[in-house]
Subunit: 338 residues, 2 copies
Amino acid sequence: MKTSTLQDVARVANVSTATVSRTLSNPVVVSESTRRRVADAVKATGYRINHAARNLRTQRAHSVLVLLPDLANPFFSAILEGISRVLARQGYSMLIASTQHVHDSGERLIDYLDDARADGMIVLDGGLETDVVEMLSAASHTERILFACEWVEDANFPSVRCQNRTGTRIAVNHLYGLGHTKIAHITGPIDNVLGQTRKEAFVEELADLGLELKPEWIMTGDFTLAAGCLAAQEWIAMNDRPTAVFCASDQLAMGFIAELSRHDFKVPDHVSVMGFDDIDLAEQFIPPLTSIRQDRMMIGETAAKMLLARIVTPNEENLERATVLPVSLVIRESTSPP
Amino acid sequence: MKTSTLQDVARVANVSTATVSRTLSNPVVVSESTRRRVADAVKATGYRINHAARNLRTQRAHSVLVLLPDLANPFFSAILEGISRVLARQGYSMLIASTQHVHDSGERLIDYLDDARADGMIVLDGGLETDVVEMLSAASHTERILFACEWVEDANFPSVRCQNRTGTRIAVNHLYGLGHTKIAHITGPIDNVLGQTRKEAFVEELADLGLELKPEWIMTGDFTLAAGCLAAQEWIAMNDRPTAVFCASDQLAMGFIAELSRHDFKVPDHVSVMGFDDIDLAEQFIPPLTSIRQDRMMIGETAAKMLLARIVTPNEENLERATVLPVSLVIRESTSPP
DNA sequence: ACAAAATATGTAATCGATTACAAATGTATC
DNA sequence: GATACATTTGTAATCGATTACATATTTTGT
């Protein structure tokens, strides 16, 4: 069964293709009677719009590209869910690519925008190589590129993110409030904006509270479980062990706790540990993880809405640069008084 | 800067658009000299192919739709990575949609195929409603629909999956080999093929080994952490507690262990626990989880390759129905002799 | 009742790449 | 040197929806 076209519908409804097209995309301009006739014809023929044709004519792809550093990272899934939800509602599709592959295959990111495969781009990777960022900045439709979660410090792209500084301060204050004065930090990747921002906020807040901070109490990690394990070994080897550790991600915290437990240290008895993100598993971890919650679904939804607004009505006042979403403290059992 | 078209390239290279098109898609049919001239012109104009135009003319979308039940489930990410890798290599894009949204928005799945948005479909959800499955079966291009991981028993779609039965038997034998004779099972969702298949294989293997199986030793779950917790409560309440539990997923196992530990039962001291899948976290869990490993990346790659073969050369002998990929036993610390 | 304005519909060009077919050019064979 | 054959290139139709513009129809105001 071949799919039917606008022509077929027009023939059955006994009108021109122009009328059918109008009926479908802008019903108010056609009369009640033709509207009904066309609707019947559409049903009778089983008409489905051909996206390729529409896209060619309208110069729109009706899809958005989402770029992630690593598809296998569960952190992104809820964000994707949020993006997908908003896009689907507007009849847009969601394309996915990983920055890794794009790099490997020598494909240029900007091609997606240039070759009419996507109308816009949501980038979840702040760690893009400098030359890639320059390429994006020089593109013809920079206003259709938007960063979420992460961002690039030097470039001037709009972004959606959570309160990283505030979240960090809340975390430190939670530990301080429990009575901890020797607080350590396991950072994210040192070349990552999130890692940087959280680390800076950590240092500032400790200073504000007048707490001591030995250099070795800042352990460089990279958001992964493995890095958390390594940091645990560092902690174990310390003479003057901090009584609390704020980790830049939940995965770090889990790796840290896992390694500690292999060496018979208990959390929070020997050390309080906090994460950041509040991923699904944080609640089920042993012990359940105290964390800074960011609403990833909402980050995704917000990013998609902002981007669509920019695509559909570019000249409006919806050209705001950054949206910062709130975080909240989720207290569970991995933190306690020292 | 407006993007340039084939026409522009043709003008600069002083040839017809036909020649440019041929040079790009089938270089061997043009002479060495024009090939060079066109290549230069492409570079000079910064030409990028317009996908919408190509797709319209060739009646191909050059993209594949991947359908998942739930984007927020980390289990799928490695599979997506595998799919994406293969597709990108062939110049195909990956569209993502969740069966949930599609259902909510009243959109018909088959539309993606019919309206030229996607050339094929990889479905990672065996739990599609009956009417949806019927709709898919009645579609015009059923040969371009392929299931991965899960599948639908009644329908006749090709699929890629792991050795679910063999994996289950290996698991049971591992526990039996350690000396366990009272082995329980926490199933996946009862209406899910994977849950069903693993449960059946479990029952069969216990029968083959001549082991007792009390009805209550089969606890119905649904692959989630929460279900694992509930099962733990059942286990605790039993008079005659099994000494080993085989869980249909790692998440189940983690939830089970987490809840047990809240009630001061230790794994594997009080009970040995196994999972299925070997997700990333299994290794870092406390205790590290013994599991049946399936190579999710390879499942994704295999699915993508099979689908592309069917799309590109449909009449070939690449119409095999099912590919079953091997699993392996990964022994860690959650299992021990009773 | 008639002009002006508003509404509804049709005609045909257009988006940009592909490809069947025709035409031109070059090469081999006797 | 003529013919058949292979190679290379060009012409123009085509994919299916959208939309500027023209035209037909109805409504409104006086």
